[in-house]
Amino acid sequence: MIPELGHFSLILALILAFVQGVVPLVGASRNRLALMSVGRTAAQGQFLFIAFSFGCLTWSFINSDFSLQLAASNSHSATPLIYRITGVWGNHEGSLLLWSMSLALWTVAVTVFSRNLPEIFMARVLGVLGLVSSGFLLFLLVTSNPFDRILPGAPEGRDLNPLLQDPGMIIHPPLLYMGYVGFSVAFAFAIAALLSGRMDAAWARWSRPWTTVAWVFLTAGIAIGSGWAYYELGWGGWWFWDPVENASFMPWLLGTALMHSLAVTEKRGAFRSWTVLLAIGAFSLSLMGTFLVRSGVLTSVHAFATDPARGLFVLALLVVVIGVSLTLFAWRAPTLAGGGSFGLVSREASLLGNNVLLSVACGSVLLGTLYPLFIDALNLGKISVGPPYFETVFVPLMTPVIVLMMIGPFVRWKGDDGNRVLRKVVPGLVASVVLGIGGAFAIGHVTWRTALGLSLAAWVLIGSVQILWQRLADRQGAGTGSRLRGIPAAWWGMWFAHLGIGVFIIGVALVGSLNSQIQVKMLSGDTAQLAGYTFTFRGVADAPGPNYAAARATIDVSRGGVKFATLTPEKRFYEAQGMPMTEASIDIGPLRDVYVNLGDQLEDGAWVVGLFYRPFISWIWVGCTLMALGGIFAAADRRYRRLAEREAPAGAARQAA
């Protein structure tokens, strides 16, 4: 009964989504206020029904209702409660329902936090979101109904894939989806702007906090996914250039470009068609990511079920949404030309340079991800594109981005004196290169990549200090404390996010150059050495869990004769899925991680043990945290709330003029 209620509720949500997609748009084109205002109510109702439906599905998972096909395939009565709940989105149908729920949640957030938008603009935004939502709900109901029954019910479920029975599963997919789907708001704003022809500073200001918040979610989602892969996949890597990782990284790159482009559009009125294109692009790549994961056109660790009918449906949806948007863009964008002019040496030029570079980087990731498909489609054979391609292409593209990123804030809007800028940045740049090369020698790993990474990191850190210093120097008079307090949150957001990139690069550069690992055969009492650490194998004991059997090894780690950690990697066997899993054990430190996993037992009773030394790897995630924190500061800036009220009429007046 409960699943049927969920199913019915989902159908009602689809009807409301359709109403939300059509009525306000009709109202906007006929200028009928009554029709326009339907959008809000429909959006909120739609969210309630999707949430109820999601609740029904969760209820069936929690109560192990194995007459529900989805629960029978992805849950088990012995699975801990939390993984019975996360099992809801550990499959194709449930994850799509989560996708739809995120979209509905974002839409409701728009209806609540953007009350000050002109009614006609709001109607268009909600209409676009409603149409997108209709597409996805239709996809769910037609090809991927999560509420299918099997009668008679299965006596026991087949359990959730053990790889997914991990705390990462609790937050990684919801955060990632909130990020992916969050770009739909910027997209809807852009389409509404194209429809109305209204695209001014006020429009950019409305879009900015939404874009930034979506970007924060996406950043956090990707970072958590990467951390999860690091400790769960058991070989100590943090990024694999897997097609699905790329699928989340591409919208991140374009979303980053979009945030900066919106800043220019708001402040100077420039880049308007470019900003709109980025908004369409970021969301299109989110949709394409969904397609890549759901259709099975590429091999990936994330692909659940591959079903050509589903792939075709998502592709059709993709063609309709993106195709119509880009057609609209081609039709309306020419009217958006103009905006503030700027010189070659200006804040605008530096931001434009970085946006172009980020877009090209995104294009190169897209090319690498889809290249196997192109080659296969053109009958040129089967190939796979691995990390060497991505690293070769990505590093040279991102290097100028990082350099420009810290120069931009020194440059004035509209136009600046090149010599003045050079005087400000050259000392820091020279010092960075010296520090980077010196650092590479100091750690005894002199490769161009290490030197480059350390130089870039030094440049970000030096630049950050310099920018803060200059900001304070610009406000003469008051005490340092009040000068610090006088800096707006958005500025701190920029500062922290950029600093985070520096911290991130330190992690990437050092873990890339100094890491080491060995695989050893160990019997109880054996010791092994790695990177100055001594590992003593203390034997293996049984450690059964609720739905798995496990062997747990105890390994003491010492340095200089002093024991400082006991690691307990496990080898688990999940009964229902018949799947073995390794559970790594990590001693996390600010300057290094020591990472141990347990392999197979050999015939002589010894165990294969993997020992990993990962210097500075946690800096990667500290950097991501700083970036996300920066995004939160930026989105929380007071002026969005203040100006949203004041500027709306002023913006409209400017448009009329």
Binding site: L277, V297, L326, A330, L370, A377
Partner: protein, 198 residues
């Protein structure tokens, strides 16, 4: 409408074309170098008849399917009903290759097991699995205890299915579980074609 604003749309449509075509391709399908080559020889004990053995030699002159399976293989559970159904009126014999029944199962502790015990364990497990999963679709199943036949045939995932012709030449390899669609659209037409050719 200026042409440059149409560029994004054009790029996207090109991409969509490729994606659409990609739906028809299977990225997991790696062409087997063994296609067109003679099926590697072996002679191993049969699963059901304890005193008999089986070799590809025994099937010379017939078109047949070699289906790699094991009781620990999860996907085989999905494939099995399809095979049982197909075997009822299959135009060709299906030979099973029971692949690393004991050693392939990560749950079993088989260090230092002696070959006779391993064979007996494999037989007992495999037979029980067939009973529990709807019957035995195989004319004969070969027992590949140590996986050597699997290596010769380039097996890298279970289940896999090979189509072998009258001369003992491998004509086609299906990777992953056989579905009713793959039977209807690929395997049955290919079998018919081979049988007509003789």
């Amino acid at each position: 409408m200026k042409a440059k604003f149409l560029v994004p749309l054009f790029i996207f449509l090109l991409l969509a074309g490729f994606l659409g075509y990609g739906l028809k391709l299977n990225p997991r399908e790696v062409p087997s170098p063994l296609i067109g080559k003679p099926a590697p020889a072996f002679r191993v004990p049969q699963l059901q008849a304890e005193d008999k053995s089986i070799s590809p030699e025994d099937l010379k002159g017939r078109v047949w399917l070699l289906n790699v399976w094991a009781s620990w293989c999860i996907s085989c559970r999905y494939e099995h009903p399809v095979l049982v159904d197909f075997a009822r009126n299959s135009p060709v014999p299906i030979i099973g290759l029971n692949y690393k029944e004991v050693r392939g199962d990560g749950a079993l502790d088989v260090k230092g097991i002696d070959p006779a015990t391993e064979l007996a364990t494999a037989r007992q497990r495999a037979r029980q699995w067939l009973v529990e999963h709807g019957g035995d679709p195989y004319m004969v199943s070969a027992v590949d205890l140590d996986g050597r036949i699997g290596i010769d045939y380039g097996v890298y995932g279970v289940p896999e299915t090979f189509l072998i012709d009258q001369q003992g030449v491998i004509r086609y390899k299906h990777i992953g579980p056989i579905t009713p669609e793959s039977l209807r659209d690929v395997l049955i037409p290919k079998i018919a074609e081979l049988q007509r050719a003789s």
